[in-house]
């Protein structure tokens, strides 16, 4: 198997002078295509920072990140936009849905950006909503749904444009344990069915159990 993601010697510092926070100190690892990797570590260890750098939402001070052959760290804004449109999608702890759009429109948004024909788009949205078990909630807005439902919409949206890599930062962080577990199971299932690669940060032991591989990070470094 080949590595879809390859992280090499990544450093990320915040602030300057004596108050500098060295959030990532030379992180290197690979993620194989089609696998689901759990990123675990204590609060403040640098999980979010690492995921942001991998997904191109943030830039490292040193080191390189390659996703599916694209050198993420070398891309400009437009290159990054294309990367997000075509290869990487995100699921956030805070769901990150567009409040003024319905569940279906939220899920369809990446397809619109990819200029998928309307008929195909609608079919795919219906399929994904069914996949996440929200067929009956297509017209609802995020504000009218529970946290678990919102996160499931977010997962459906992340899968819409058939990305290569799905990055999820504590997707169950805002959910109660039961809901969290069902979302986790859903994530695991869609990774299988859609054939995407997933990099998921979590505190949850259940998630770790579901993952193909667990990367532990502490104080900005990957534990051996």
């Amino acid at each position: 198997m080949t590595a879809l993601v390859s992280v090499r010697g990544v450093h990320r510092r915040f602030g300057s002078g004596p108050s500098t926070v060295h959030a990532l100190r030379g992180v290197s690892f690979d993620v194989e295509a089609g696998s689901m990797v759990a990123l675990v570590g204590r609060s403040g260890s640098g999980k979010t920072t690492l995921l942001n750098v991998v997904g191109g939402l943030d830039r490292p001070d040193e080191g390189s990140v390659v996703v599916d052959g694209d050198e993420v760290t070398g891309l400009g804004e437009d290159g990054l936009s294309r990367l997000r449109r075509e290869k990487v999608s995100y699921v956030f702890q805070t769901f990150g849905l567009i409040p003024v759009l319905s569940a279906a429109e939220n899920v369809g948004a990446p397809l619109r950006l990819a200029r998928t024909p309307a008929a195909d788009r609608e079919k795919r949205v219906a399929l994904l909503l069914e996949l996440v078990g929200l067929s009956g909630h297509a017209a609802q807005r995020p504000g009218e749904m529970s946290g678990g439902q919102q996160q499931r919409v977010a997962i459906a949206r992340a899968l819409a444009a058939s990305p290569r890599l799905l990055i999820a930062d504590e997707p169950t962080g805002q959910l109660d344990a039961e809901t969290g577990r069902s979302v986790m199971a859903l994530l695991r299932a869609v990774v299988e069915s859609e054939g995407v690669t997933a990099l998921v940060s979590t505190h949850d032991p259940v998630m770790m159990a579901l993952a193909d591989r667990v990367i532990r990070i502490s104080d900005g470094q990957v534990d051996a």
Binding site: T48, L57, E77, S81, R84, T94, I98, L113, A114, A161
Partner: protein, 873 residues
């Protein structure tokens, strides 16, 4: 510190927060300063312009503004005739002293030194073919009038100092002096006998004793009888010239004997001195004059008691009406300014409380009472608002000496109370049980009451606006509800627009969802979400509409001034020919017509107060004898006339009788209405073919070279007249205020837009960031952000300008702008298209500019940071 202990007020935290929110706080302060300065300045400005207007009115009032005291002389009848009373000049002087005494020292200061006079009735000169009338006058005032006798000598007594005459004796001879101009014009020399006759044909005779020249023709004394110096045309009838003879103290008793008993009266005239008159003194002057007039009227008409007469009270009434109208017009603009200011302050408070809401909610959760939170916010806003209002009012007092507490109050109250009120509401809402009632009917009930409450508020505004407009149209512009009519109408329109916007953006969204352009969906979705926020849209639409209202009013006044000048002048330039230039009128007309840049010259004869009889009533009107086809475009038959009447005295279809001296009256039919020309209440236009004597005394010149071509002649230029009217104190003051209101409201609109944008910015850019995680480029992100600002911008640009123009069109009539423009009727609403387009463009362009600025402020922020701080959706 005791206060802090009791209320939980924390000085340091107030200061710290104030520093963090310096922008909106300073902006609110600035708005308060500006409004208190503007609103404060207006009463002072109005007071000053009112003073100016009184002076102006009195100056224009001329003779009508004078206070005239008249009295008979002591009777001179004897057993079988009349006796010559030698000391008549003394008796006149007695009257003057008595009048001055009655007037009182306080009021005396407001008048120029009085002029005493005895003026005879008009007599006809019976020799020669030219129609001439002749009067005799004795004048005395101050030192004058001083004259130099260039030939002959001053009039002397014509006979025995104490003669007695028989009732039926021959006419008594009077000696008079004649001015050099009159002597030349009529060819009389000292010693000449003037053959005169009164209305009934009784002969009178006067002998020219000498020819005089006035030492100072500008001496106000001469103003009592200007025809003594220069023979005047017209006023006694068409084609007549009146001149006069000067009496001396010695010949005055002879003059009295030359006329039937009591035809010569003593008169003392007081001309108000514009230099010392003010609005306030004019009011007390009016009161006194009215009392004196009323008291004298009750005394017997058969004694020598003095009679007081004056048009000063009506002159002052007219000025008062003008000043009152101007005051109310200013109030209309102030109401608009205050409304704009209050809305901007509400938006600023909204932004401030949004920014502070996390801190407020936290404080509340930690157990701070709502009272304590409210007091803390109140302390801050009160200090700021009071300081700002103080500064603005102080500046107003320094510059104009006045301040309008009534107008500043609503703005001040808003500035003080809005932030604490919003703050308390926010804090209370955050800690109230968030869940909606479990019971479904209770939930529906809650929703219904909210909907009903809003509908009731909107209905109130719309009804108030309707009532105000009806009141304005029925009662005209007066204080109270009508003053608020334009502002309320705009508010009502804004409320309706706010209602209209969500369905419109909803429609747009439904269309966009079907479109293939991803940005259309996201942008319209943002727009649709933003259009639901009522206050920002209402505020923006209101400011722009009120600014448009002010712009349209200013344009209407400007165009009305031009129209008014056209009405008065009738062409680019009107040449008023004098006695000596009238003879060569045709020649002059040809010369002017040949000059470069002159496109047309018309000649005509204008009589200012011609004696016209309609319906058996004498109706003085301006009579214009012209080539009707060239002047009005319609050729009149010789027996036709065009009429125009402000009072309704002249109407189409009436028979108009024009009286002439020494000739039968001419009867004409009013066949149509005269164009609004002449600037006079009553106008009659007659064709030259009507056969009225029409030596041209007026030329109307049109063309760009008209002013140059008429250089050296006595002219009234339309442009010059419009300029001078525009410079009149009330007019220029109001035009200034109109522009200031327009500018302020535009700035308020732009500030409101910026505040609205700032209030929505965090949520907007969070959404944009989220869209960017889906692959939107930064540029596309900015377009989506602009989409959110578009409904407000479009509502302001299209709805605001249209609403403002509509309200202006509905209200300009009753605003009484004709008092400013000098037109006979109300000016038509003028729409300054270029200006309105500029206003619309300004707001449409501001939306992308604001987005660019917001994007620039966030340029250094990475997506990761935005998403990290963004809370749950």
């Amino acid at each position: 510190m005791r206060i802090a202990a009791i209320t939980g007020l924390h000085g340091a935290s107030i200061r710290g927060r104030a520093r963090a929110d310096a922008g909106p706080l300073l902006l609110s302060a600035l708005v308060v300063v500006l409004v208190s300065l503007l609103a404060g300045a207006v009463p002072g400005l109005m007071e000053r312009t009112a003073d100016e207007a009184v002076r102006d009115g009195v100056r224009r009032g001329g003779d009508a503004a004078k206070v005239i005291v008249s009295a008979r002389f002591e009777p001179d009848d004897t057993l079988n005739g009349r006796a010559r009373v030698p000391r008549l000049a003394q008796a006149l002087d007695d009257l003057r002293l008595r009048a001055v005494d009655e007037l009182g020292t306080d009021l005396q200061r407001m008048f120029r030194p009085p002029v005493a006079s005895v003026i005879s009735p008009s007599l006809k000169v019976t020799d020669g073919s030219v129609l001439r009338t002749f009067r005799m006058a004795y004048l005395s005032g101050g030192a004058g009038p001083e004259v130099v006798w260039s030939a002959g000598s001053a009039p002397a007594a014509s006979g025995d100092e104490t003669a007695e005459i028989d009732w039926y004796g021959p006419p008594w001879l009077v000696q008079v002096g004649v001015s050099e101009t009159a002597a030349k014009q009529f060819g009389v020399r000292p010693g000449a006998l003037l053959k005169l006759a009164d209305e009934r044909g009784n002969t009178r005779s006067a002998q020219v004793s000498g020819i005089f020249r006035a030492v100072d023709p500008a001496d106000p004394v001469w103003a009592e009888a200007p025809w003594l110096l220069n023979p005047a045309a017209g006023a006694d009838g068409i084609g007549t010239t009146r001149f006069g003879g000067l009496l001396s103290a010695e010949s005055l008793p002879d003059a009295r004997l030359a006329f039937p008993p009591d035809e010569l009266k003593r008169t003392v005239s007081f001309a108000p001195d514009p230099a010392v008159l003010t609005w306030a003194t004019a009011q007390s002057l009016k009161a006194t004059v009215v009392t004196l007039q009323a008291r004298s009227a009750s005394s017997s008409t058969y004694d020598t008691a003095s009679t007081w007469n004056t048009g000063l009270d009506s002159v002052l009434d007219e000025v008062t009406a003008q000043v009152e109208t101007a005051r109310v017009q200013a109030s209309v603009l102030l109401a608009a300014i205050v409304a704009g200011a209050v809305l901007v302050l509400l938006l600023a408070a909204d932004l401030l409380v949004r920014r502070r809401s996390p801190a407020l909610v936290l404080a509340r959760q930690r157990g701070a009472s709502l009272t304590a939170l409210g007091l803390e916010l109140l302390a801050e806003s009160a200090v700021l608002a009071l300081a700002a209002a103080g500064a603005g009012c102080a500046a107003a007092i320094l510059t104009t000496g006045g301040v309008a507490a009534g107008w500043v109050a609503p703005v001040l109250v808003t500035a003080v109370a809005a932030v604490p009120a919003y703050g308390i509401l926010t804090a209370a809402a955050a800690t109230r049980d968030r869940r909606s009632p479990a019971n479904r009917s209770a939930r529906r009930w809650a929703r219904h009451t909210a909907v009903l409450r809003r509908a009731a508020a909107e209905a109130t505004v719309v009804l108030a606006a309707g009532a105000a407009i009806v009141a304005l149209h029925q009662r005209g512009l007066g204080s109270g509800l009508p003053v608020l009519a334009p502002t309320l109408a705009v508010l009502a329109g804004a409320v309706l627009l706010v209602r209209l916007l969500p369905p419109l953006t909803g429609l747009a969204l439904r269309w966009a969802v079907r479109s293939r352009r991803p940005l259309a969906v996201f942008g319209t979705a943002q727009a649709s979400a933003a259009s639901g926020r009522a206050l920002p849209v209402a505020a923006l639409v209101t400011s722009v509409a009120l600014a448009t209202f002010a712009l349209v009013t200013a344009a209407t006044v400007e165009r009305g001034l031009a129209g008014g000048a056209q009405e008065t002048v009738g062409a680019d330039v009107r040449v008023d020919l004098t006695e000596d230039t009238a003879a060569s009128a045709d020649e002059t007309a040809r010369r002017i017509a040949a000059a470069p840049g002159v496109t047309g010259v018309l000649t005509g004869h204008v009589t200012d107060s011609a004696q016209i009889v309609v319906d058996g009533k004498l109706t003085p009107a301006r009579l214009m004898i012209v080539d009707s086809r060239a002047y009005t475009g319609t050729a009149l038959q010789p027996d036709q006339a065009l009429v125009r009447s402000a009072t309704g005295a002249l109407r189409e279809g009436m028979t108009v009788e024009i009286l002439q001296t020494g000739k039968p009256a001419v009867r004409l039919t009013a066949s149509g209405s005269a164009p609004a020309i002449g600037g006079s209440a009553e106008v009659v236009i007659v064709d030259v073919a009507a056969g009225l004597p029409d030596p041209p005394n007026t030329l109307w010149v049109t063309g760009p070279g008209a002013v140059q071509a008429t250089d050296g002649l006595t002219v009234v230029s339309r442009a010059e007249l419009a300029r001078s009217r525009r410079a009149a104190p009330l007019v220029s003051g109001l035009i200034w205020l109109t522009w200031a209101a327009a500018a302020f409201l535009l700035v308020a609109g732009l500030l409101g837009f910026a505040l609205t944008a700032a209030a929505g910015a965090p949520a907007r850019w969070l959404t944009v960031s989220r869209l960017r995680t889906l692959g939107l480029t930064p540029r596309q992100g900015r377009l989506v952000a602009a989409g959110e600002l578009l409904p407000a911008a479009a509502a302001a640009a299209a709805g605001g300008t249209a609403l403002g123009a509509l309200v202006a069109a509905v209200t300009t009539g009753p605003l009484g702008l004709r008092l400013l423009t000098g037109q006979v009727g109300d000016p038509a609403t003028a729409l300054p298209w270029a200006g309105l387009a500029a206003v619309a463009a300004l707001f449409l362009v501001t939306a992308p500019l604001l987005v660019r600025a917001e994007a620039a402020l966030r340029r250094r922020q990475r997506l990761a940071e935005v998403l990290r701080v963004g809370g749950p959706a």
